[in-house]
Symmetry: none
Subunit: 649 residues, 2 copies
């Protein structure tokens, strides 16, 4: 298989042999503090360094020019010139700015080295042109100082010598002796046929999720549909085919991020440039993409809703191109949070009344996983997270303790404890197991009794290794015997719902658990068998027949029934229009691309999850999954499915 | 455990002229330690400061009311009132809380300044109403203390005076003399038609990884170290304690992202504002954070290097505050890519000569996981990815096919095929299993022979369900019989190294594999037992003794030895300074916070990985892991470890 784009093809598309990078006169004397200082001179350094890195990657030759005058140079006022003395060869003022990266491999071009000749252009009497010719250079990327003198003159010479010139617009600054000189110089260079470039149009590509966070096939299919103007209303449903054997139920989460994605989806200019250059898409299709927005409808289970296999969690009804395009990110967002909320829900059920905190950022699969696992676990009933940015983003309560290294850098563990408490007198959790857990607990008692006299209390201790049950009992005894019954015990170390239930059942006196890796990776079930499938197009129900991956066509609804104690007792998956007993679960959230109500707060979704977990049938509140919850396919839906004609051909 | 910051909830609006912000009585006497203290009074300060900043941005007038009593005020118990003496004009108790931002431009409203008149409402005898009218104010945003007294009475007056009132629900707290008073007051205000508002919707915090992408404990520890000016050089090592039983080796990946993180790490103004308001950090510490940069040194295994348990993958040597702070994100970045590259390396070994493409974005744990799994799998030897943004970011070749829905929206499968080929005449992969795989292959043959006359070729077909081996054989026969030997076969559907090896061994005529879920979640091993541990501080080796989590102290090096056929045959983990046989693997990448050479290109790292996989011992090229690779701990390192004195105390 050939790839559609191949490697080494970053913008500008054809960077490579024949190109050179020229940095003009970024010397101390031209920078603030120098004898011929340019006010904003320093501003060129950061972009030049970034450009440099890009050019280096492409192994493009690098040239750095500099003024390199004799002490009695003719351009100096004292010797009849117009400038103060500057850039005297070998002086500090003539050195390149220390913050500028000048690689070993760069070629240095010294200008105006003779008493009687002044030179603004890096081509004047420097042999640069000959050097470039030997290397068969055709195009120059030029930045540096100053726009209205040496950059301008160098560029003019370059144009005269038939080079293609690209002026790095964000990496030049002007003297501006007269206001507007720099601007005028740039205009002059453009009028000579120079191109201009800025970094943000180029690289780096943003690491944040952009509209390009899709599978290539979405764009390929979009292009095909667009070619034929096939854009009738399509309906897709997201659902989980089968529950993993380790899960008796799932908890819907991630809808809020999906709605945000759909409401803000659009291609940036950078996206469009990239698509144009890399996928060679035609301009009229690019114009369509420029105006592309999601204009459809979303029905979904509210976040925090318990659901089961084959039940639609989210339905998209939209023009085909939109409904198809959003597949990748919708699955990406819904699967992960649903998986984490479901895992967290089990942990919540296994530890009634305990404080549960997400500690998982470091082992999460990247930044977004860390942020969203904090959100999904809080939604499912956790007390909070250790991830600061999740607190900032989602207003989730934050919890923090200390690391072993904190103890280790102190000569004495007891000093470390006291030091930490005094820095955080309101809110301290001390870590006990750096050396010896029970001995550390004794130190806490000693410290606590001393600090109590000052009105400072220690909130909790944490145990992070060994037999947590045994240690917690011993530590509890030590704390109680030491008259510290108010100090709570927090435990962590590879915990999950099973080990927590075990600790709870054996009566371990642990008040709270920090849960990391096994939560944020959903270690026992790191993926769900979920799908986003076309069920209807242009009013016609659609059905896929692939082996083991059949689908229920048409618009459906989930009806939930409760027993007389208010516990869920059975769902019916039926056609949307079919009258059924029970509460319909899918609700409308977005219409014509706009929300029907303000975003649901995370707190409100958390209440839903709590209420849903409470109404689970008893068997599903257990960690074991022997008794699957009944989900009935309505007769009408079965009938309807059977009645569909096989695909033509 | 109490969280360090607690939850609030949501708010968006149309702020502007006609609005005013009123903060009621946030004075020392109403805060813990004051004469009429409200237990949770401090909790209003952070949200009020955040609201304040928002209102200031919109140039909304700001009013701060205060009780400002004479010493013999009628509300004081001693003079027949119901309260202890409080907020006596000019006293410390009457001052605004020092942590509350009260801008110069704010208007101060003093209440109950006469001996004989008490006033809970900020409208009573203060002239506030007249002032607001002059400014044409229609809507008031009200927060402060206390919900059940002065806030309630002020709001009641405001409603009576026909203002629209928005109560800042997360920025008020109640006295709660009777439990529930505050709650009841809020209900009363709502019943009067007041809206309520909370912050978390209002300030969109960037979703991109910021400096706040850390565990809270990093900031807590940093603050403690800073309090004592403990900032000597610390050395931490990142390593994997034990190989998972499913892995015979690991492949280092993620260093490039770590270096980028370290080079660019800094706190934005928004980060600092947030830390100030939410964690109530002191200004001098915030000033320190503002200038915070990583200035240390990084030694590491180059990306693509094979490594084993206990071997340092990365070492940070830096001032303590920096070295500690970067822990969370370093683990987050290194674990994930290393895990994925290691999984991908096994897949590469199981399918020599086959084209392997990452299809996993949708099931990856969020956006960054999708992007970085594309990078890590390419590094390990994959041919490319389907993730468009990964192509844009990392210059990875892109591959794309089509989805079942593409076939389904067409009335005839053969129309779908032709339509797709005509849209992508250069590069078409047709999906066979929407309805019936072999029948679809027949249609491809018919279409291909017709299109050949037009000079259009079909590149490949894809099979995505059922018995891939059996289907691929039948499809190959059909294609060959139909004179289409050039059409390749691509397979996907829950593939991993085991199923691919099986297909390869049974001679399935499959040319390329699309690998998704099991790759990007590293499904069998979704986390590594990795750690980032302090090994030295201020020149003194450090050792942790926690059960099952002991560490090797000091600066170490990994020496690798090869047999006479150039295959790796054993590593030695030793002290850095110890002379050892073999090639040292750790190299220096960053010094004084700056790179020592330009970034290693992904292509170069991919070559390293390829070379490393080639030199694996034969047993490690198998998927089974019966024969662990020998990693010897040097005698000197063992000796050194034993010789360290136990921690003092």
């Amino acid at each position: 298989m050939d790839p559609v784009i191949s490697k080494h093809s970053l913008l500008p598309t054809n960077l490579g042999p024949g190109d050179a990078f020229i940095v003009i006169d970024v010397q101390n004397d031209f920078l603030p503090g120098g004898s011929l200082s340019i006010d904003k001179g320093y501003e060129v350094v950061a972009p030049l360094n970034r450009y440099l890195r890009l050019f280096q990657k492409k192994q493009i030759p690098l040239f750095f020019s500099r003024d390199w005058h004799p002490v009695d140079h003719c351009s100096f006022e004292k010797f009849g010139g117009r400038w103060p003395a500057h850039c005297v060869a070998e002086s500090v003022g003539a050195q390149f700015c220390p913050a500028l990266d000048v690689p070993e491999s760069a070629i240095i071009i010294s200008k105006a080295t003779e008493v009687s000749e002044d030179a603004y252009s890096c081509f004047q009497s420097t042999g640069l042109h000959e050097t470039l010719q030997r290397q068969n250079i055709k195009r120059l990327f030029v930045g540096g100082l100053a726009t209205d003198y040496c950059v301008l003159e160098s560029v003019k010479d370059a144009v005269r010598l038939s080079y293609t010139v690209v002026v790095l617009e964000d990496a030049i600054r002007a003297v501006d002796n007269e206001a507007g000189d720099g601007h005028q110089a740039l205009e002059e260079m453009e009028s000579l046929g120079c191109q201009t470039l800025t970094l943000d149009r180029w690289l780096p590509y943003p690491q944040t999720a952009s509209a390009l966070l899709v599978d290539l096939y979405q764009i390929n299919m979009m292009k095909s549909f667009w070619d034929r103007r096939m854009n009738q209303t399509a309906m897709f449903e997201f659902y989980v085919r089968r529950l993993p054997k380790e899960r008796g139920f799932l908890l819907a989460a991630g809808l809020e991020q999906v709605l945000e994605y759909l409401e803000t989806l659009n291609f940036s200019d950078q996206d469009l440039d990239w698509l144009k250059d890399q996928l060679l898409l035609p301009q009229d299709f690019l114009d369509y993409l420029k105006s592309f927005r999601f204009t459809g409808r979303v029905e979904a289970l509210p976040e925090g809703t318990v659901f089961f296999q084959e039940e639609p969690v989210l339905r998209i009804t939209a023009p085909l191109l939109e409904a198809q395009f959003v597949e990748t990110r919708i699955i990406n967002l819904l699967q992960y949070q649903t998986m984490i909320a479901s895992k967290a829900g089990r942990i919540v059920l296994s530890a009634p009344g305990k404080s549960l905190v997400d500690f998982g950022l470091r082992r999460a699969h990247g930044a977004e996983a860390g942020l969203l696992s904090a959100r999904a676990s809080y939604l499912a009933g956790f007390s909070g997270t250790a991830t600061v940015q999740a607190g900032a983003l989602f207003d989730i309560p934050l919890y923090g303790t200390m690391a072993h290294s904190f103890v280790q850098v102190h000569d004495r563990e007891s000093d470390a404890f006291e030091h930490f408490v005094r820095s955080h007198p309101q809110n301290t959790v001390l870590l006990l197991d750096t050396y010896h857990t029970e001995q550390a607990a004794e130190k806490v008692v000693t410290l606590a009794s001393r600090l109590k006299k000052e009105g400072i209390t220690i909130q909790a201790v944490r145990i992070d290794s060994g037999d947590l049950g045994a240690h917690s009992k011993k530590v509890r005894s030590i704390l109680d015997a030491g008259d510290c019954p108010e100090i709570k015990i927090l435990a962590s170390s590879n915990l999950d719902e099973h080990s927590i239930r075990q600790l709870v059942q054996e009566g371990a006196p642990i008040d709270g658990f920090g849960i990391g890796t096994r939560l944020v990776t959903s270690q026992d079930v790191p993926c769900l068998e979920c799908a986003y499938k076309l069920q209807e197009y242009d009013g016609v129900p659609k059905r896929k027949l692939a082996e083991g991956k059949k689908t229920w066509p048409g618009r459906k609804q989930v009806f939930r029934n409760y027993d007389d104690r208010g516990r869920m007792c059975g769902d019916i998956l039926s056609l949307e229009t079919e009258p059924q007993q029970g509460t319909p679960l899918l609700k409308e959230f977005l219409n014509k691309g706009r929300r029907l109500q303000p975003p649901t707060s995370l707190e409100a979704s958390r209440s839903i999850a709590s209420q849903q977990l409470n109404t689970l049938p008893k068997a599903l509140k257990q960690l074991e999954t022997h008794s699957p919850y009944p989900v009935e396919i309505s007769l009408a839906l079965e009938e309807f499915t059977r009645s569909l004609p096989p695909p033509r051909d």
